[in-house]
Subunit: 101 residues, 2 copies
Amino acid sequence: MAKSKKDRPIMVLLDSLGRRWSLRIIWELQEGPATFRALRKACDGVSPSVLNTRLGELRKLGFIEKTDDGYALTRDGDSLADRLIKLDRWARRWDKRRRGK
Amino acid sequence: MAKSKKDRPIMVLLDSLGRRWSLRIIWELQEGPATFRALRKACDGVSPSVLNTRLGELRKLGFIEKTDDGYALTRDGDSLADRLIKLDRWARRWDKRRRGK
DNA sequence: TTTGACGCTATTTTTTTCGTAGCATTGGCG
DNA sequence: CGCCAATGCTACGAAAAAAATAGCGTCAAA
């Protein structure tokens, strides 16, 4: 059986991160662990069912884990979050270009 | 009026990229311009309505544009795609860690 | 024993996405 | 010209995902 596009790690990643709130959750956790309820608030009040679903997915992928302090990034999750931080800086420049013309 | 979280460039970005097919479209265009139909095929046959919606959004954000060769990344889009390429390499290592015990 | 915060489930409504058909336009080609 | 194939894209009903909200069960402090 041929290796499908979908099996490539990047596709698994793009597919998962391309779901609502996935990126955002990682972004928010980057400031430290958070409880379920705190995470909801941070994410503009995302509904608990979706949040729970996403947490499960991100957990399965090994990006987050449950700790005594609530949900927290794993090593991999932290590594991924680093990229988001860099993206933040990129986004600011992009925004300037875009609006500042 | 206070500056809301949602106004930050990174939030605009996370929100847009966190929609289905957004990341994937940029990923696919990184190999060069593609027609509407070619893009559909590349993206696992995504429905034309959604594709069109996403193309509009990405266009508004300045990541892609229409050219004679079809849809293509702009300079900003290309810059963003660079990050995805790096993420690809990251994803492979992550995958090895994950499955390779 | 009441109170409050917690993680989370359940249920209903609304929004988004999918799947498919097909229309309008364009560019050969005879 | 008429025909054809390919294109970008719209339309629309069905299915899936997400939102909104209520509230259960647990625990720990008061």
